[in-house]
Every structure is written in C-alpha cells, then in structure tokens.
Subunit: 177 residues, 2 copies
DNA sequence: TCTTGCATGTAACTCGTTACATGATTTG
DNA sequence: CAAATCATGTAACGAGTTACATGCAAGA
C-alpha cells in the first residue's frame, strides 16, 4: 500500500496532473519509488473515488484534456496515519543476487560482464545523487522539510554505495578467476 | 519473472517438497528473495505443467501427502537462459524512505522511533550475516559454487551496512531536534 | 479420540508490467 | 493539414498478499 501514499505526498508537495506525476516519478520520487503512468492514472481514479483527492475544476473536462488533482483533508489524515504506522522492512527485490546464486549452480556463463554493467549503472546513479547533494543542499540553514529531503537523498547514496562496493568486489574476484 | 527461477535454483541445489522450499525461502534464499507457501505451490504447479520440473514418483499421491520435485533438463536450460539474460537493476521497494519523505510534508510525528527500530532490525540481520560468514566460510580452499555463495552473502552484508549507516545518521540528526 | 503439526492446496484481491487506444494542442 | 507531442485512459496478464480449506500422521 505505498503507491497511493507516494501520490498523496507528491500532490501535497505540489498539485499536479497525471502526466506531471509520471514525470516526477521518473525524477526525484523515482529515485526510491517507481511507477508507470498506467499505475498512476489507475490510482488517481481510486483516490478520487474514495474522497482522498479531488480534481480541480476546469473548463471542459474531457478525455485528452489535462486534469489537475489536489489532496483533500481526509487524504492528508490518511497520509499521517501511514507515517505513524509500524511496518517491517521488506527484503530486497533486485534479481541480480538471485542470478548470481543460480550461476553458482549452472556455472558463471557470461554473468561477470553483466555484474560489471550493473556496477557501472549504480556508480553513475551514485555520482548523480552526490551531484544533487552538492547542488541542492549547499550548506547553511535548512528547513525541517529540507533536512528530511537531504536525509532521503543520503539514503539513496548509502544504498548505491552498498551496490557499488559489492559489485566491485564481485567483478574483481570472479573476473580474475 | 524471478520466482520460478529462484525455485529452479533451489531445486537444483536439492530436490525438495513445497514445504521444504517454503522453509528454505524463510532461511538462506529468503535473505534476498521472499516467497510465501501459496506463491510457491502455485509456481510449482506452473513449472510442472510446462515441463520444467517433475514430481518424483511416490507410493500414494494424494492431497496432504508430501510431494517432492526435481528439475528436468528443460528447466536447467531455462535457468541458464535467465542467467545469461541482460536485465536492468530495479529501484528499491522498501517504503521507509517514502515514509520519511511524507514526513517532510506532514511533519515527523512519531517516525524517529520507527527509524530506530528499523536500524536495530537491520543491525541484527547484519550481525547474523557476519556470523554466517565466519561459520560457513572459515577460509581455505573454496569450490566455485562456494565462492559464489560467499559473494551473495557479502552482497547482503553490504546492503545491510548501507541501511545501518543511513538509519544511524538519520536517527542521530532527527532525534536531537 | 483429540489435538498438534506436517503438508498441500483454493479463492479473492491488490499491485506491477506491457501493449495498445484515443483525444487535444501545438508547430511547421 | 500533417506530424509531433501532450495527455488520459483500457485491457490483459503476471506477481505478491491475505484468508481460508482440506487431508494425513503421530502421540497424549
């Protein structure tokens, strides 16, 4: 039950249309939660029906016409409940370690270059995050919201560092052997 | 499409019944991929129907009687194809960073103790993994399969270290004010 | 016989993915 | 007006979650 809450958060940060949300899920929000436009439109429909958000009034509502949403008080309350909820960590869902374990059984085949490719992708993402950190949080006084956003970004940084560290060693050890 | 391949890998490592697989998905395999018994039985049915695995012959096949499966040659070939496939990394799917970002909008409420709780859970898991490393890989000559298994374990270790590092700093910075 | 644990399943629902369909607006 | 782009959606399916149903076997 995370996508509706991700959408509520995004809409509280800034009221948006479905396509704008989709773009934001490809950028900032997308760094730690992904969603396609199909998921987003489906979820917007549900959230509107259950009275957590509403479409802003517009001239001629019709298919293909831009439709902007904002969060209603009940939506904000639901988001608060979600933040306060106690919820256990989920296990990872990247299939790469699984593929490595499979390679332990059927042989490494051509997996090492794939490990190296993933290492490069994670490294690129790490550099990108570090760049955001420099550019968007250049020191000095921060509001609480900014401090929290910086922490979220650093979460991404620590995770990517974990991947890079692991994959570097993996390529190193398997590549030479 | 990862669960069927996780099951094929597990069955190649050791032919098992559905319940045994479930237990293994709560232990070693479960450290990087989770599955409930319902998922597993459903998937075993599909894999058997498509000729990738078969049930070992038993005396009286009946509901409630143990049923053991093994991988057929076609199943092994499918697993090889999967290992060789090129597949991009998936973004994380733990909702905690999302909840922190939501807290940036609706206020921290009671989230810091929850962050501390997650830090402790990840730390406990990290200790567990490090214990496995000491106990199951005590140095000396390793087969290729063992080297790969050790790498997978170290992947888990690096990820957990990432979580612990992040959550420690988060609690530290937010807890004090 | 009753309970407990082992073991295999069904059903219903939600969430995520892929492919496709359709209308509105802008710009060459 | 043609093409590109903006924008909203449908349909079908696969994967994950939760609740429940059923049967077998061993020991108190």
């Amino acid at each position: 039950m995370s996508l509706p809450h991700a959408i509520l958060t995004a809409l509280l940060e800034k009221p948006s249309s479905g396509l704008e949300l989709t773009r934001r899920f490809d950028r900032s929000i997308g760094y730690f939660w992904s969603a396609t436009h199909q998921q987003i439109y489906r979820e917007l429909g549900k959230l509107e029906e259950s009275g957590l958000i509403r479409a802003l009034p517009s001239e001629v509502p019709a298919r293909g016409r831009r439709k902007e949403y904002e969060v209603l008080p009940e939506g904000r309350r639901e988001l608060c409940r979600w933040v306060e909820r106690r919820e256990d960590p989920k296990v990872g869902r990247d299939p790469l370690p699984l593929r490595l374990r499979a390679a332990g059984v059927v042989g490494l085949r051509n997996l090492v270059p794939e490990l190296a490719r993933h290492r490069d992708l994670h490294l690129a993402r790490l550099r990108e995050y570090e760049e955001f950190e420099r550019r968007d949080f250049p020191g000095g006084a921060l509001t609480e919201q900014q401090r929290v956003q910086l922490l979220v970004l650093r979460g991404g940084i620590d995770m990517e560092r974990g991947w890079v560290s692991w994959l570097t060693r993996a390529v190193d050890e398997l590549g030479g052997g």
